[in-house]
């Protein structure tokens, strides 16, 4: 790890100013991604501007039919939030299934979404719900925000302040966790609202989170697991790595999408075997 400057910002304008002033400065949220990147020499910013002291970036509220979550809200806080679990339990469960307890108590919504790891869970939640990303400069729809592998529409020195999640009629997220990291090897988020069905897939795509259009159309016509196509994405567009081939991922997208639809329909899970619980590994 190379030496760097550290600034603890007290407000968003102060943070933005610091980021704009110092060349190669980066915001620091929970540090769950950024600190390991520093340690392994994958990132060497000149300064870290810590957003941890900005109280206004934390918390959950329900406003105008939308759930509003501050960028610095930890995964554990979202998972444990009564408002989230009442209005949008699928999002609470998504947050509660991220990594492990240590990661959930440090990692934040803003950090996760800004990082747009192709195997992260929140990008699927944002895209699958049609969320709006709010920054110090503007609002961006999730459809426009996630622009590819580890990349987003964020400009330099732009800071996410909160994310607004519309509340659908029903929604579910089903994840197949990588045995080692517990990131999503594949995760499928499905929501159904009065005018649309959205299906977002994370972990599987070569360029990060994506919407599965064919699945959305099939479910918009008939919201039942049987209607889902067996393969909805060309194998060439799917990741192949140590843990899962494109073929396996394609298969998992279908299996998890079916389970997500079943979950939306309130079917009790028929699948006792799951990662990170029930003695499965």
């Amino acid at each position: 790890m190379k030496p760097f400057q550290y600034r603890l910002a007290k407000s968003v304008p102060e943070a933005v100013a610091a980021l704009a002033q110092i060349a190669e400065a980066r915001p620091l949220a929970g540090g769950m991604t950024l600190i390991p990147a520093l340690k392994h020499g994958l990132a060497a910013p000149a300064a870290l501007v810590d957003l941890g002291g900005i109280a206004s970036l934390r918390g959950v509220s329900f406003e105008n039919g939308e759930l509003v979550v501050g960028a610095m809200t930890t995964h554990a806080a979202v998972a444990g939030s009564p408002i989230v679990n009442e209005r949008l339990p699928a999002l609470g469960r998504l947050a509660g299934g991220i990594g492990d307890p240590q990661v959930r108590h440090r990692g934040t919504l803003g950090g996760s979404v800004a990082n747009n790891d192709p195997a992260a869970d929140y990008p699927a939640g944002c895209l699958g719900l049609g969320a709006t990303i709010v920054t110090n400069l503007r609002t961006v729809s999730a459809d426009e925000f996630f622009t590819g592998f580890f990349s987003t529409a964020l400009a330099p020195a732009e800071v996410i302040t909160s994310i607004r999640f519309p509340v659908p009629m029903r929604a579910a997220y089903v994840k197949f966790a990588n045995q080692a990291s517990r990131y999503a090897t594949v995760g499928v988020f499905i929501s159904q609202s009065a005018n649309a069905v959205r299906v977002a897939v994370t972990g599987a795509g070569r360029s990060g989170v994506f919407r599965a259009g064919e699945m959305e159309q099939a479910l918009a016509k008939d919201f039942r697991p049987e209607t889902l196509p067996a393969h909805c994405v060309a194998l060439d567009d799917l990741n192949t790595d140590l843990h899962a081939s494109a073929e396996y991922r394609s298969h998992l997208i279908n299996v998890l999408a079916r389970r997500a639809v079943e979950a939306c329909m309130g079917a009790p899970s028929r699948h006792p075997v799951r990662h990170g619980g029930a003695y499965a590994f």
């Binding site: 790890m1 080692a180 389970r259 499965a280």
Partner: protein
Amino acid sequence: MRSEMKALKVLGQPLRRKEDLRLLTGAGRFVDDVKLESMLYLATVRSPYAHARILAIDKSEALAVAGVVDVIVPGDCPELDRPLPEVLEPGTLSNPYCDLHLTNPHHVLARGKATFQGEPVAMVVAESKLAAALGAEAVHVEYEELPAVHSAEDAMRPGAPRVHDANPNIIGHLKTAIGDLDAAFRKADFVIEERLAIQRLASMPIEGRGIVASWDARREEMTVWSTDQVPYRLRDALARMLDIHYDRVRIISGDVGGAFGGKGLIAEDLAAAALSRRLHRPVKWIESRSENFVSAHARDQYHDVRVAARNDGTLLGIDLKIVKDVGAYNHYEMVQTTNTVNHVLSHYKVPAFRAEGWCVVTNKVQMRPTRGAGRPEASFVMDRVLDFVAARTGIDPLEVRLRNIIPAEEMPYSNGLTYRDNVAISYDGGDYPRMLRLAAERLGYADWRKRQADARKDGRLIGIGISSSLEAGGVGPCEGARITIDDKGRVSVYLGVNSHGQSHETTFAQVCAEYLEVPYESVRVVAGDTALMRYGYGTGASRVGVNAGNAVMLAALALKQKIRALAAHVLGVGEDDVRLEAQRAFVASDPDRGRTFAQLAQAARANKRMIDLGGPGLTATEFFYPETVTWSSAVHMVAVEVDPGTGIVGVLKYAIVHDCGVPMNSAVVDGQLQGGTVQGIGAALGEEMVYDVSGQLLTGSFMDYPMPRAADVPPFEIEHLVTPTPKNPLGVRAAGEGGPVSPPAAFAGAVEDAIGKRCRITRMPLTPQRVFEIIRDAK
């Protein structure tokens, strides 16, 4: 040897561990906690390539980094221009099977070429950890990449590049045979052939390796704090390198956060000591987790097995060919492969058996043993064979085992093989059929068979797996113990073996309390310092309980004898008239006339009676030399459910029946068994060190190398049988390594049984993707 089975009072009790208060309150002291005045830090420059010629090393930029004291490359430091000492010099254990063993010198710093990714190429010593790390980054090495040998098959192919220019890639060979194998195959109703593979994996201690070496120029003595499992080997190696008497080297190992076989002498150990003497300052090196991933691996062995069997499920013969990929260097002769050969027949009678094995070098991280050391491979082969026979004959796998098992009446049983200490193998008691039936009972075998059939109707996949294992342990040559009673009657036990989590402070205090007949609370076990005991042979190979445990017992009995003799003298009676009870020696016929142990300890300081009793003080030192190993045994049974959609394997129930003779502390035995089994589950379902064809490690961190976590682990139903061994006075058998031996085999059987459709599981681990592929291909 075991004269009377006395009723035990302290030994075996699940007493609270003496080390827990310290460890659980953060008061443990590990190597990285050692901070000395003016200490320097060492960092290693490692080869990024698996196989590359080193053309030039430019250290000028590194030397210019603030805080860097020196940069060491080959030739800079004559002490370091040497190979690491072999752990087992060829022939050390008179391996009865091995007829080829080539040693490739493993230099402290790569000479001319690097042979695996992570091999030390240069070292930087600096004023701080950061400066050392920045200095290491600033060392510029020019490499010419060479084609890498990435697997054993690759290494053995004609025309393969050589890992070491001086030797072929096959560096070890062994063979042995019993019975008439050709006749077995002639008589067979059917023959099964398969290749069975156990993956490359690694020990994953919570604490990595580390060393602090501090040279005292005035006294010409070296003091070292180290995580090494065999401190005496480190002491001797440093003494040889420094060319001083080994009494001038003192190795201290305080608390060590796990080792599992992987913590042995490495380049940084020699470097830290050599540099400390050169620079007259203490030198510290602490391994990072990333370095730990490329320091030592284990297993990576495949087996071509041919089996002759009868339609009634009985085995006639096994022909086994073993190939072990040892990585770039091999310091352990053919111990692991020999262990596989000697454990593969397991609880079963096999009239004819032939084994041949090869050790092969590749451009991968060197092998060290890891918990189980050749035994998980053995159980995997045997239980797979029995399951294949069951599938082929249609006989239930449990029944197939009962038809081949060694009956209790045939104990002690000799199968005709020879252990690696050159003594004929003899299973020293135990009741294998009873263990198997008990395990089936504890699992609820018959019930799971019913549930399996019902679940199948709903498309759910439930399966049962069985594995039996043996654990030969307690290999010599010996261990010693010294027990001393002070003027207040407090007891110290000194040992020559250090602990990395095995509860020595507890279990050996129990042995001492039992046989010296003193309160457990008054006994303190002191170990991990070569200045206290001059000889020790290491904590590994499941040898400490047997060796050190019996040494403590012998020392306790010897000390009691000394107390009796001194008391007789002081009290003016014959030794036979003296009784010992409640830390007091008294006249049997007149119990009021006596002396406490404390009083006798004071008397022993100057009393002339001690002339014949070994000199002053109430102290006794004894060594226990085992004749050969003793055999522990276990049966694991698991019921699993496989998710056909994802390939995830979940545990429904896990039962273990285990016999390690007399337990020294039953809770500690349970802990060893549970922890070991969890390691085995990791190996069965997830852990694998994966390389690409260029020899790059793809699983270099915990983001890609899965270890089981607490929530992944099922409760274990454990039942202990206690068959004391006649091979040592305590009656103890090994308990350290048995846990991980059976899970791979048990899970392979269970998953195969769940999927059905004549699928065959032949390699580990059963990751979800692999299970998915097996299901796909079974259709």
